[in-house]
Symmetry: C2
Subunit: 502 residues, 2 copies
């Protein structure tokens, strides 16, 4: 296969180049003089790329009325926290950035040919660098050099008329009186990374006379793909998960409604009630947590136990109806594999929102905006669904993708938006209006109701309880009055974040 | 596939013709007769980048004695499973690959300047393309065009002496009699992606006469950094986690040994015993699972509940000693933030192994090799630690990194290597010999011992029990006799994988 591909390429290339060659021959025939002098100045003037136009990671200013963290911090803690946060951010950058994000340019009229993208090597493994070549005009002698910083370079040493220095080192210099020979050597140059790393990069500097080209080398340990077996029916690829706390009455209604429509689908229940009741049944798994561990801890526990390709999140006081057709959501996910989360509607209410994140200054953090009822655009081929940043508490999700983001167990109550904040940039989210689930009547005569409410909605928090033990910041969504906070915000110590309508 | 093939062909042809063109230009420059006969053939020989030398995703052949999955599959299931697997792999590729991995070359002697790396845009957000310029010699008129496929292009329309076509479309053509004016227009060109996506790319084609440059555009929604507050002492940044099953005697010994050295460090216990005993105590959290959920399900549950930056994994029959200095492991992790997992020794036994993964053909999967006692090289600055692929059951790990990989709950017993297989390429792992933990005497008179052993080591499995409900393949590590299997293998349906010494 590879061989055929190359031969085809070779022939095609040969033909094209001959044609071009000849055409060009006639073009040039009429006028042999180049205008070097005129070219030089403009070249000079234009060499510098307009760096200033790069999107700067600069500060962002949050609108007035923002809840500023520092105003809520005891003065004596502030200094220490800022120091620790700076160190964490520094480590975060060391982990997430490499030379592969640096801006590089191809300079015009350079005689050098080199790979600008796609040259990938395994750590500690020698790999030939594709496409290196010099296309300079007549010289008495041709001398090029290659420099790397995280590896060594080798080539084939050919005996006569060639000078090679630094074979097996990080700087390789090759000289020959023949361009053909030099290009032969260049075609044989291999790169070997000398430090084991699983995802990083190196920059190679390729030089001839006063020309320099810098190109990236991706050093990557490939991952084994994680593939789930869809099996043959919905219960072989979807698990229903929920979290309960002092609401067994509602939970039982939910469970029987599930069984009405899906007789053998797996159901996982995370339970942090004070006196857990035993919930048993075919394909029902109950996990007992220490009391009052909280909303996200329970979600994260449930997610950690799913073995099917997809999971369906439902609240313990929802109820399956004729419109709760999981298959319809699966159909969309299967058709658009880039999707990670697909929300439906709860009793006809299709809640969704978009998030805008402005990366801020190192010390002050960024600004995060949430806009309710904003979607980006319909999902191609599925007009009932639209891309957005966050959805309602009823969604089908790709198990592996959700496990990667997780529900921060620090968040004990109220949290919902926070999952989508943490997933921003990791989860592709859409909201659909053609699949819905019911909500049980709010006025339940559950003996635990009062106790539940006390936990669920602690009164009069300026900084909500779930933020107390977080390193930082509560965020007040003034537009809705709902108070919310999240790991992304709290642990990221974004001092000036405001969540609210733009 | 065909499309890619053709485009590749076309690009090659373009590259080749330009190169040829320009070399010829240089030749003629110095001497109008030009040695066509001499240069042309060498030109041919040297133009083509050695594509064949790119690491091909081709097949790998596993050594004889490999356990071949297909031999263990009922003939009637085989066909269907292969079809399903093919579909899953196709989806996996749609999720994980983009044009950003395609091999691109900078052609020599091109008058075009353009960004080859680092041009990143937010989805649906207009961003100026840095560094676009033309450096051609004298012409009566200059005409350039830009093409993209996932967005639109705009520039500043300046009134006189300028022709701009396709403003706000995916093909932008600009013409001017003045090179300066044209370069002004080029400096003002902005790209806006038209489809919302969180991580993908576009390729821009930049053309002038018969020169073409293709450069990448990264479309990325930035993630909010996840930063943990280290706090001020070890218990504010490390949680000890374990999993127990019918071994309360050992568990209690472990817990008291922990308290001897760490009075208030958080301990999380995942428990899937048949009749769970209540384990209570300050900073001890016990989670009761349905019975016999298994080894990795328990690990994954425990990991899902950690809120500190680091977690320390220990088996329930280990015992803390004077040498169990968590701080020493934390010190290394803090100094080398790229690290994700740092193993110690158990009773002086420093077990570690390296993994080699050969990506295989689409249908047959790849080959995974495990080499015991192989490390890559010492950790710079920490000679007691060496980089490797997998370590023993006693390790400090970065919580967020481990949560991203997870312990596949499908694996019920014996599994250990599988976590590191799943983490290959995601987790940077090292093994150290300067921190150790003890192991409780094996001969415990636990009444549940027999029952435990029956579950832990089911006798005479050709395909071990934990593989039964996995879509595929058990792998026999002949060298050690230990039988093992993993999601990476089973769910990836790698038919011909063998784990064993190279």
């Amino acid at each position: 296969m590879m061989a055929v591909f190359n031969r085809a390429l070779f022939q095609m290339a040969a033909v094209v180049s001959m044609i071009t060659l000849v055409t060009f021959y006639f073009m040039i025939f009429h006028n042999c003089s180049g205008e070097l002098t005129q070219e030089a100045p403009t070249t000079q003037k234009l060499r510098l790329p307009p760096m200033s136009h790069l999107p700067p990671p600069g500060p962002c200013t949050c609108p007035g009325g923002s809840t500023l963290l520092k105003e809520h911090l005891p003065k004596d803690q502030y200094g220490e926290l800022v120091k620790r946060r700076a160190k964490e951010l520094h480590q975060h950058k060391a982990r997430t950035t490499s030379v592969l994000s640096r801006l590089l340019f191809a300079s015009p009229n350079s005689p050098l040919q080199y790979p600008i993208q796609g040259f990938k090597v395994l750590p500690l493994t020698s790999t030939l660098i594709p496409g290196l070549a010099l296309h300079a005009g007549q010289r008495s002698s041709y001398k090029v050099s290659l420099n790397v910083s995280k590896g060594v370079l080798t080539t084939e040493i050919t005996a006569d008329g060639v000078k090679v220095q630094g074979h097996g080192e990080s700087r390789l210099i090759m000289e020959s009186s023949s361009l053909v020979t030099l290009n032969y050597l260049l075609a044989k140059v291999s790169y070997t990374s000398t430090v084991y790393h699983i995802h990083t990069g190196d920059l190679a500097s390729f030089q001839f006379e006063n020309h320099e080209a810098v190109f990236p080398i991706t050093i990557k340990q490939p991952l084994l793909p994680v593939l789930y077996d869809m099996g043959t029916d919905v219960s072989s690829h979807v698990t229903v998960i929920t979290k309960t706390f002092l609401r067994y009455t509602q939970l039982k209604v939910l469970l029987s409604s599930i069984r009405r429509f899906y007789s053998n689908i797996e159901v996982i229940i995370a339970d942090d009630s004070f006196e857990p009741e035993n919930i048993t049944g075919e394909h029902i798994r109950q996990y007992i947590m220490p009391p009052a561990q909280g909303w996200f801890a329970g979600r994260n526990l449930a997610v950690s136990q799913v073995t099917t390709k997809y999971l369906l999140w439902v609240d313990d006081d929802f109820v399956f109806t004729e419109e709760t057709k999981i298959e319809k959501l699966v159909e969309v996910m299967e058709a658009v594999p880039e999707l990670d989360v697909l929300g439906g509607t709860v009793q006809g209410n299709q809640f969704y929102f978009s998030l805008l994140y402005e990366e801020g200054e190192e010390m002050d953090g960024g600004c995060l905006y949430r806009k309710s009822n904003e979607k980006f655009h319909p999902l191609p081929g599925y007009p009932q669904c639209s891309l957005t940043s966050g959805v309602i508490n009823f969604f089908l999700a790709r198990t592996h993708a959700v496990q990667k983001v997780g529900f921060d167990p620090k968040l004990q109550r109220v949290a919902h938006t926070e999952f989508f904040m943490d997933g921003l940039g990791s989860l592709l989210v859409a909201s659909c209006d053609h699949v819905s689930i019911g909500h049980q009547p709010k006025t339940s005569h559950n003996k635990d109701k009062a106790r539940y409410d006390k936990f669920r909605n602690p009164a009069g928090m300026l900084i909500p309880a779930e933020c107390d033990h977080l390193p930082f910041l509560s965020v007040n969504e003034s537009s809705t009055g709902q108070t919310t906070c999240g790991r992304a915000l709290c642990a990221d110590h974004n001092f000036d974040i405001k969540i609210g309508e733009r």
